[in-house]
Amino acid sequence: MMDIDDPLDFEKEDPFLINPVVSKKRKKLIGLDDLLSEHYKEQSKLIEKEAKKQTKAQKSYDSDEDKNGKEAKLSSLLDDCQEQMKAMSGEEELSEWGIFVFGEQKTSPPLSFPELGSWSILKSFMNNRLNSLVGLATEQECSFLEGLLINGWLLKLILKCGRVEKSIAAWTFSLILYSSKEELRSSACEFWCSILSSKVQVGVPPIVIDWFPSYRELKSALEIYGFRFNFSSNISVKNNSVCKGPPQNIITWIKFTAVCCQVRCKQSVFLASDCQELAEVIICLFLDRRVQGLNVLMSNCLQSVISSFTEEEWINCYCEIAKSLASRVPMDLNCLRAVQCISGVDPRSKHLRSAVAFQILVNCFENEVTDEEGILTLLISINVKEKACDFFKMYLYVVLTENWLQYDPMLRDKPVIREMWGLFLRNCSCQITSTDLRLHASKVRNKAAFLLQGAGNN
């Protein structure tokens, strides 16, 4: 069906309608780079001129061979020049984010479960006449139960009988945390996730779970994986052989934690203070490059933690999370990563993103100022023309401030704040020239220009 709003044929061809701004703005941005490369070109031209002067001085020996020799000389000069340029831009690379959040692993507790045989269903089966066919003996109980778990029978049975006894709960939980067998730990994790998130059905009593793990146990597992709760003190450990990263159990740990948070409203496993610490821990996980492949899981988990707070708890907690994080995260690209890993798609995570960025900024200025306008005044007062200006820090400030202001609806619409933010950005984009070769200066300039463009669009 054709919609009445559909364009008439000729309208489609109107380039202005389709993309009115593109060409103009792109040109502008590319223009900046052109300027930079022009600068380089000019430098090499100078060298060329120099070379030409030399040629003129030695005009009398203007034979073919000599020409070749001079060309070679010239090209080597140019090569040198290029090398220098490369070296210069090479320095400009920002180092990567990444902290070894996980250190050395500790020995995990032994996995033995003598009490498994006390599971009532297992006991009652021993006396079932069918056991003549199955032939289950007491010593095989554990491996038999593992089979039940891996193939999914255990879950079906529990859903049917409506109760998870302590022995089963504790056994499966420690498999999640410490089993080296992928099948066992992921089956155990699926088992818990299904039990916890099983829907309450009309006419069917909810599943009774006799034993719940506590946050303390999750935390100590994390410590055994090598997680450093205060890593800021020893970031310098860069030896891969010493810390090879967390065991694979971290995957099931994250999944299980996420589900516990998702059901917190009906089954309170964690206290508010636990969730507060969890949020910090998960954000710290984002800082370790060795687990970046689990981003999807970690984002989901962080989201679950954030949504698990009640409204009242949240108001009390989010600022604490931000403050504590700000005090842990080093002031380099890692602090940006800590801010950007917070998804920002819902109101709460926007809130948190803004708060974390703000607290890190406050920390940057060693807690001298803690009010919004104070911070912005400090930022504006930075003189980018000054020789000692640290552009790496400037870059951090620009990104942090953007995140802080953009996601706080209260601040975003305050005229004073907007004005100051605009001024700060203009300082960075206009006062730093495109030919400024100081370390990271162009990075700051480009970022500020980009943000100014964005602000203009809205």
Partner: protein
């Protein structure tokens, strides 16, 4: 009823904004055209992804990213330069997919019935055109801009099938990881397009809705050997899952009691791989299930005379799977282990048994969902007959029979726990009794196997099935 939206439905101001947004974000990538492989270029890509995210996903009423922007994100995933880029482009693409769906059902308002809304302008990772057109286009290059046509899709799956044959340590590289995530994204796109269409189809019984779905157009292309494609899908899903077992063996020998962490350099890829393999299996299962659902709807539409010759003929996937499972006994166990959609699993197992009973009257119409449990019933009942049992263990070996019985029972249990929806609680009695009956029949079937041959060894899966059946009987009664 299909409502098509095109770009002119959004107002002009938004488009101006989108134009600005596009120019601004793409400029981040442009600045480094000269040295594409450098760290700088990678940093720019990271910045670009973050900028796209910030511009379109974070504002409360953000505008969808333009085609060029999504395409650029997609190209970053395809290029797969680093783990960081792969992961963030993959996440971003899925987020965009979720936030700005291309096809959705409109909310029912007043007396208007719900209709399917299709956003035609949205960017697609696929190039699909009907075969009539493609014969004319033969001259044009196949992979325009690195988008996927059916051949490209097949190549990707072939790559995964090859990967599934490798050992775990051979798989640990960024490229394999990138391909698996790429595949997952493509399946996700197919699913987002398919699900609203089939839901709408079930309401309206209008085959046109499904005929135009991406999946149907992709599979309908005559430029690919459909059967080979499906077989590659099967070997991928079976191969990838078998390797979980491989990991278990490896780590059993390691001294630490926790899962071993991989040696130095590739730790990040290795730990990601473990999870990504699993989600790839799930995506493959999703793809297979969608195709089977499509087949079923097509058959239904055919019976109602809605299909035309242009719809073509395709062997139903369930039949292909069935043939493969009978032909290659080795993949029977891994397939049943990994394929977890209970409805289709049960269907395939029942058909497997029926293949050997040669009683055409037993075949029920596949579209009739309610008949399925009774069909399992009938299969189980036939085991009470000693001659039948002996016959069947002559044709299918006894290991396989136990495997099939146990998995059928598992699938049945899953279906029965899923079907306990609110409002159905009054039939709980019936449900319990049918569960009881099935459990008893499972036990009887195993007893009858034993009866047919005293020396039969009951497999561990069989024992678990018996245990579960016995305990269900004792807790219910």
């Amino acid at each position: 009823m299909v409502k098509r939206k095109s770009s002119n439905n959004c107002n002009r101001r938004i488009r101006i904004n989108r134009g600005g947004m596009e120019a601004n974000t793409l400029a981040i990538l442009d600045s480094n055209e000269s040295h594409k492989d450098s760290q700088d270029a990678r940093d720019d890509s990271v910045d670009f992804l973050e900028a796209v995210r910030t511009a379109s996903l974070l504002p409360e009423n953000g505008t969808p990213p333009t085609e060029k922007m999504v395409e650029a994100v997609f190209q970053i995933l395809r290029a797969g330069k680093s783990l960081e880029l792969i992961m963030s482009s993959y996440e971003l693409l899925n987020e965009i997919e979720k936030r700005f769906p291309r096809v959705y059902m409109s909310e029912s308002s007043g007396n208007d019935s719900r209709e399917l809304v299709v956003i035609n302008e949205a960017w697609l990772p696929f190039v699909v055109f009907s075969d009539v057109m493609s014969s004319e286009r033969e001259a044009t290059p196949k992979n325009s801009d690195g988008l996927f046509d059916v051949n490209g899709f097949h190549e990707l799956i072939q790559g995964l099938a090859e990967l599934a044959n490798k050992t775990i340590s051979q798989r640990v590289d960024t490229e394999s990881l990138g391909n698996m995530l790429l595949f997952q994204y493509l399946v996700n796109v197919l699913e987002e397009d398919f699900v609203p269409r089939i839901n709408m189809y079930k309401e309206t019984m209008n085959w046109n809705l499904l005929r135009e779905c991406l999946l149907n157009m992709l599979l309908g292309s005559r430029r690919v050997n459909y059967k080979v494609l499906m077989k590659d899908c099967l070997s991928t899903i079976c191969g990838l899952c078998q390797d979980h077992a491989g990991i278990v063996d490896e780590s059993e020998h390691s001294e630490t009691s926790m899962g071993k962490s991989y040696e130095n350099h590739n730790t990040d890829v290795a730990i990601a791989l473990l999870e990504v393999q699993k989600t790839t299996c799930l995506a493959m299962q999703k793809l297979l299930t969608m195709i089977m659902e499509l087949d079923m709807s097509k058959k239904q539409a055919h019976m109602e005379g809605q299909t035309t010759r242009a719809d073509g003929v395709r062997t139903p996937l369930a039949e292909i799977i069935l043939d493969e499972l009978t032909y290659d006994r080795d993949i029977l166990s891994p397939f049943l282990q990994v394929f977890n959609d209970p409805k289709w699993k049960l269907e395939i197992i029942v058909q497997y048994f029926l293949k050997y009973t040669a009683k055409p009257s037993v075949r029920t119409r596949r579209s009739d969902v309610t008949s399925e449990d009774s069909t399992l019933n009938r299969v189980l009942k036939s085991f009470s007959n000693g001659t039948y049992t002996r016959n069947i263990i002559k044709k299918i070996d006894v290991e396989a029979v136990q495997l099939l019985l146990a998995h059928a029972f598992l699938a049945y249990l899953s279906i029965s726990s899923q079907q306990r929806l609110p409002g159905m609680s009054d039939c709980k009695e019936d449900e319990n009794s049918s569960l009881m009956e099935i459990s008893k029949d499972v036990i009887a079937a195993f007893n009858s196997l034993r009866g047919a041959d005293e020396n039969i060894e009951i497999s561990s899966l069989g024992k678990e099935a018996l245990f579960t059946a016995a305990m269900i009987i004792s807790t219910t009664s």
